[in-house]
Amino acid sequence: MKIEMKNISKAFGANKVLEGVDFAVESGEVHALMGENGAGKSTLMNILTGLYGDDGGEILVDGQPTSYSGPLDAEQHGISFIHQEMNNFLEMSVVDNMFLNKEIKNKFGMINEDKMRKQAREYLSKLGTNIDVDKPIGTLSVGRQQLIEIAKSIMTDAKIIIMDEPTAALTENEIEQLFGVVNELKKQGVGFIYISHRMEEIFKIADKVTVMRDGISVNEYMTKDVDMKQLVRDMVGREIGDFYPDRDPHFGKTILSVKNLTEKGVFEDVSFDVHEGEILAFSGLMGAGRTEIMRAIFGIDHYNSGEIYLDGKKVKIKDPESAIKHRIGFLTENRKDEGLILADSLRDNIALPSINGFVKHGLIDDKSVDDFANLLMKRLTVKAMNEQVTAGSLSGGNQQKVVLAKWVGSGSRILILDEPTRGVDVGAKREIYDLMNELTDRNVAIIMISSDLPEVLGMSDKIAVVYEGKISGIVDTKGATQESVMTLATGGADNARAN
């Protein structure tokens, strides 16, 4: 099967997203699609699978002009799309999710659950997992849900599988597993469109790569003929130089000190210190419990025992409000669910944690809120028409900057950043790194959770590694290597050997 998209254009109202994109993929190859946040990658795929109509251009399948009426139609013609945002029914069981709208029926038109279960198990075991198919899918980790999505694709006998940032939520192990499956299927003649912001993955898995910028496809390469620098230049339109800016840290006094923090069954005996001007990275496998530790510190979740000291004084943080009063900020890993109020304006989003500071005579001083939001948006180079547009109208990377702006604006002395660059393009990533440096220069302490090991090594001063809810080691970034961190992340030397 060969798909050619020619001269595709698409505008959302005045926002011209695609202005003549060419892209082609055929059976048995992995073709990566890259581009900044908002470049239109997902949109292009939505047009291919018929979810959106296009404004111009043509789609040829095996040379025939084709247009699918919708995702189901595309799927029935062998094109399966694993969306960037997972489309699961959290309350429904795994098997019901997998077979939704393609249930197996018996001769009375009733659903044949046994047969569906059997098939579901079969396909999941092909991916090397034995998930309980009767569990509601919402109780599974995001990684496992992603695997189920993939199983769903395979189940449809797809000839072309589109993966839109499939690894954003996977663990290293799961990524390896996924790549194994991709290579296996490739041999069987399945073609892949692979969208990702992670450079190293592109070079590992893709045969070809196409870069999009400014609504057109800039270049197409064979992966073996291109290097990272070139791709970045194509995507961003300029040199970024080093991926990670140089850090020149100056530590001040200990600002936050956590002692023996424990929540039974989630994390245990967590102790660490952070200094002014320091970036402490939290590394570990997905599900290690890093997020949970930070949620507890920030007062979102409960903990059974342990103490938290700020500037040497013991504090009790009972909810986020009191955390904010103690000048702690928390950029959550999930900006849509926990970071932003999508229907509210950028201004209201940015000002929310510090809104109490804008009250004059009992009323909000709107003028200074506007100025405040504007200033921060300029400083963080948020791309938006003005501060009044809704947060939901921005691209992912810009949304992330808005969340960052709100915590910078609230005057945080301690910033917890949970996966600050997940799903963010290289250009924006670099801007976020620069900002982190600037903040630490101003004595802010940063705790950065990241599953991206190069990022951890490139941007932190110290690394705390979490394994199954316990800190298995805190090491200086200087002298640490991917291998040494991974060893700790998988439970230390013993475990590493056992594996």
Binding site: F89, E91, M92, P136
Partner: protein, 328 residues
């Protein structure tokens, strides 16, 4: 919020058993406790005669609530069921009084109910009106239409009482069991199969769980929505026929505020108002809880003023026990 997160964790911690247990058995346990309580306080309650009585009383609310279950599972709501009941009842009664064959009159009533439900579905699926406000508006319109149609008078024709078939619907007995109970049982069975054993049922859950995802999975969300409100209208029409037959007359204000009892039955049965979660078995239990409360308090001779207070408190207790934390 803090606790909300915790309760989610707690559920996760205990695998799924506790939640399943409370979710599935909670309403049933509540019903059993209630039945025991009422029996102790008023032994007359447990007599076969009274139980048949109770079931017959429950049947109207139950039939409406079964339809409402589908609606609520999609995250919607149907406030117009009471008005649909009244209008279909009035039309059926008028046709009967005009001497039309009872089979045709009954089918006409059912067709009309489905049509009115279909209109709700259209407004919601294509008009994109919020279900609450769309059915609030049609509730008013259908009620007004009932008044216009009946000119405000109850409809009682001699011919209506000539039809054995029609009278049988609400007042008949089969093997000593009131016929409305059979209707309720049949409707339950059909809707149970529809919800749990057909693709339509799966789509209903999917629509309520995540409309966007359902659309992407190729579910014709609009069609499903329209069908679901049509079913709800159909159920209201069946309830209307039972009621009209039981009363031997169609009242223009019949069914007023029945939507609240139906919604209460659905929610008591553990179905989430946010959609995507729930079972029709729960609705049956919910309707029985409400019926037992009404019947029991009548037997106990509790003043109607206090009955209202008790009913409200029972609903609150049941819902608090269930702690549907993420409903809106």
């Amino acid at each position: 919020m803090q606790e909300q997160t915790k309760s989610v964790e707690a559920e996760k911690a205990k695998g799924f058993d506790f939640k399943k247990f409370v979710g599935k058995m909670g309403p049933l346990l509540a019903l059993i406790v209630l039945v025991i309580l009422v029996t102790v306080l008023s032994p007359g309650f447990i007599q076969p005669n009274n139980l048949l009585n109770l079931l017959r009383q429950v049947s109207i609310n139950a039939v409406i609530a079964f339809g409402m279950t589908f609606v609520i599972l999609t995250g919607g709501i149907d406030l117009s069921v009471g008005s649909i009941l009244a209008l279909t009842g009035a039309v059926t009664a008028t046709l009967l009084s005009a001497g039309i064959s009872p089979v045709i009159a009954l089918l006409a009533g059912i067709a009309l109910g489905s049509l009115l439900g279909f209109v709700n579905g259209l407004l919601i699926a294509y008009g994109k009106a919020a279900p609450f406000i769309a059915t609030l508006a049609t509730m008013t319109i259908f009620r007004g239409a009932t008044y216009v149609f009946t000119n405000g008078n109850p409809i009682t024709g001699a011919k209506m009482n000539d039809s054995f078939l029609f009278q049988f619907m609400g007042r008949g007995y089969l093997l000593g069991i009131p016929f409305p109970i059979f209707i309720m049982a049949i409707v339950y069975l059909v809707l149970y199969l529809l919800l749990h054993k057909t693709t339509f049922g799966r789509k209903t859950y999917a629509l309520g769980g995540n409309e966007n995802a359902a659309f992407i999975a190729g579910v014709k969300t609009k069609m499903v929505t329209i069908w679901i409100y049509t079913i709800s209208g159909l159920m209201a029409a069946i309830a209307g026929i039972i009621l009209t037959s039981r009363l031997s007359s169609a009242q223009p204000d019949a069914g007023t505020s029945y939507e609240m009892d139906a919604i209460a039955a659905v929610v008591l049965g553990g179905t989430s108002l946010a959609g995507g979660k729930g079972r029709i078995f729960g609705t049956l239990i919910g309707a029985l809880i409400i019926g037992t409360l009404n019947n029991g308090m009548n037997l106990l001779g509790i003043s109607s003023f206090y009955q209202q207070i008790v009913k409200g408190i029972v609903i609150i207790i049941a819902v608090l026990l269930d702690r549907k934390s993420n409903d809106k």
